[in-house]
Symmetry: C2
Subunit: 449 residues, 2 copies
């Protein structure tokens, strides 16, 4: 299916690129594939091929292809253009898509581009730019189709037919007052089955609240999911209609939010370009490795406190990674569960206590279970039941510590406005390493003193 | 907004539960909140409260609430019902939602429920049950609104008006032949702006291929995202219309797929219930801890090979976790990037070579950078430049090993049909631990021999 098809497409393109048959590639890009498919091909090509492919895309298709590329790649392509080129490329787009692209521009080029825009467009774009990217205002589009409540279904149908087309993803007409205040929605499905003589006021839907432009985008996503919406009206604080949000943009929010936790936990950005060039990748990763190195040094310092004990009983050095590793694994299970629960809006103050309690009990139970196994193996391995007792105790302590840290870290980080997915995993490992080494080597120092 | 509101709701409910004011809760559940909001409240309550809340939901609302609950919780509630109760509860639902619920039933109860269903319903449900849950057939609904190509727009509008209502999420009528073969789509937005005298054939859209019932659901999601679809027709191998898929069900697929990688990497299931009871949670986590314990023992065994060297130079025990940890972190960055790339359909054979190469270079560069830092710190700390040289070499080796393992593991696991997100992280840590300890302690054994 799709997978196999595009596999061959990429293969074919690579062959064509190797042999320099650009005419054939140009034809495929501009006449065989859809703009979204071209965007996907560009995304999965390494930087050099990417540049060649982009240059082969015809001018008419450029806007459509560009808007479907990942943010990073858009920024890269736009960075090589001046304001006239940017304007020529973006002016055919919907205002919300245009704004998304403009936001990838360096500040100077964006200002210049706005300056050379015609007045009406500039006003619209500046208004959209005034909303943060991650709010309803930043998501919305201004292509609403509005009607008044006091006209009849028949008049509405005639009014609609005068349009050449209705914007894509229009599932409802928006009912507004003379002053453009939001009143209600008229689903097309309802318009089509209603008596022509009846007025819009009698059939419009009013039980869906319009979205305020300042609502954060993750809450917009929850609203769309809960109410199975295709589009929703956006209003300002006074209830005046500003635009509408469509499900395709909400799907992007959902995918990015879900990717965010996964990528952040490895210190990566959710917009991370899979095929970014070497130096860009090296620089970004270096920071994360540096932060983790700090925590590794802290763990080493803890071990350093017990050098004398290790010198006496080398078996401790052999077994100590087990204690740290088991605590880290158990802790990150809890951490991941809580972070996912936060993203779904499940975790809050009133149930955090229950969660912490459950995690501690689970940590203790699994700690005891595996402590017994590890103790038996360690005792047999080193012919020393002391070491079995020491490691068993340390495992239980560290699994409970992992459970506590895994629950409380994301909750307190979020309360402090720090991203739990980004900071959580580093802090968790620091805690389980320190607690693990300290408990194991500390107990050993007492036992073997 | 939503967040704050539902926070107070959960708080209020908890207070009411504590004081036993069930009448007030019953009123809130059945008259103030929407079914989706009730479902979310139940999901974020611990098991005991959950049972109480469910019992307070009125009979009419039960079907709507149940279908919006997570799979795990659905199964739990359904497991306490007999087939008559299940049937009474589910028969008001759309056939696809009904099938989703039936799939949570134990086999025996499901068969029994099918047996007591009326004939027409059973046929429809059995047909839907015949498609695997994770295919287009498993996602589809049978509530299509179809028309013939040779009638006029006017006749179509009159025909539609005879309906009492059109199913939700209907953005297009489906154009079919006399034999129910799929021909094309007629978007409602197009129907509304077209000349009444024109025939459907002249204005229908035919450039969107119908989806085969056997297409995997992640590919359906990609299609919906690429073409910004709201609904899409599903056909069998002969092109006969079977039903349609709507964006609300696709959004669920997207969210679950995205959650899958995050949760699997911690050995959790993407359906994992945040508030599952203690014993269920303990059992599920125990398995993952056991698997990780095995890999920890392997790492310990490697350290065990070098006991003599460690006895001579205890500083090695202090520093060795740094080598393992840095390799593990670098490796999981690569692993996460590749797994995300696979989920987005970016990584395939033809670009895997470039990716491996890039990762190795990045690993080597970051390895050299941090090796220098670590070497300086280690040399000063232990007043021994040998240990600085040894750890620097080991760090570079392990970061490159992490890069290779992080790239090749998910690619080969996927080729073998094993889930890279689930198996990848365990295998990766095993490799970076073994390589890290072996390189560091092995080099030390040579240097200090």
């Amino acid at each position: 299916m799709v997978q196999t098809e595009s596999k061959t497409q990429l293969d074919k393109l690579n062959e064509a690129l190797d042999s320099g048959e650009f005419r054939q590639i140009r034809f495929t890009l501009n006449h065989t594939l859809r703009p979204t498919e071209v965007a996907r091909l560009i995304e999965k090509s390494p930087p050099k091929e990417r540049q060649i492919l982009w240059n082969l895309v015809s001018q008419e298709l450029e806007p459509e292809v560009l808007q479907h590329l990942a943010d990073d790649i858009q920024a890269d392509i736009l960075s090589r253009m001046n304001s006239e080129e940017v304007l020529a490329l973006t002016e055919s787009l919907d205002s919300d898509d245009m704004v998304d692209l403009l936001q990838q521009l360096p500040n100077r080029v964006m200002k210049e581009t706005l300056r050379i825009m015609d007045k009406q467009n500039r006003r619209r774009v500046e208004q959209l730019l005034s909303y943060p990217e991650d709010t309803a205002g930043g998501l919305m589009n201004t292509d609403t189709t509005t009607i008044r409540p006091d006209i009849s279904v028949e008049t509405t149908l005639r009014y609609i037919r005068r349009h050449d087309e209705i914007p894509e993803m229009t599932d409802s007409l928006i009912v507004v007052s003379r002053k453009d205040s939001y009143i209600g929605l008229l689903p097309l499905t309802k318009l089509l089955v209603s008596d022509p003589a009846i007025t819009i006021r009698e059939i419009m839907v009013t039980d869906i609240d319009p979205i305020n432009a300042s609502m954060p985008d993750d809450q917009v996503a929850i609203l769309f999911e809960e109410h199975d919406l295709v589009s929703a009206p956006v209003v300002d604080d006074d209830g005046k209609l500003l635009g509408r949000i469509t499900i395709d943009d909400v799907v992007d929010v959902i995918r990015e939010d879900a990717d965010h936790s996964l990528m952040s936990m490895a210190g990566l950005d959710e917009d991370e370009d899979t095929f970014a060039p070497v130096m860009k990748t090296t620089r970004r990763r270096a920071v994360w490795l540096g932060i983790n190195l700090l925590t590794a040094f802290i763990a080493s310092a803890v071990i350093g406190l017990f050098e004398d004990t290790i010198e006496k009983v080398v078996a401790l050095a052999v077994l100590m990674p087990i204690v740290a590793s088991m605590g880290g694994i158990a802790g990150s299970q809890t951490l991941t569960l809580v972070i996912r629960g936060q993203a779904l809006g499940h975790v809050e103050k009133s149930n955090a206590g229950w969660l912490l309690n459950r995690e501690m009990v689970v940590g203790a139970l699994n700690g005891i279970l595996w402590a017994v196994v590890i103790a038996v193996v360690a005792t047999i391995w080193f012919q020393d039941y002391n070491i079995g007792i020491i490691i068993a105790l340390a495992i239980v302590i560290n699994l409970v510590a992992g459970a506590i840290a895994g629950t409380l870290l994301p909750i307190s980080l979020k309360a402090m406005g720090i991203d739990p997915a980004l900071a959580g995993s580093v802090l968790l490992t620091t805690i389980t390493d320190v607690v693990g080494f300290f408990a194991f080597l500390g107990l050993a120092t007492i036992f073997y003193a």
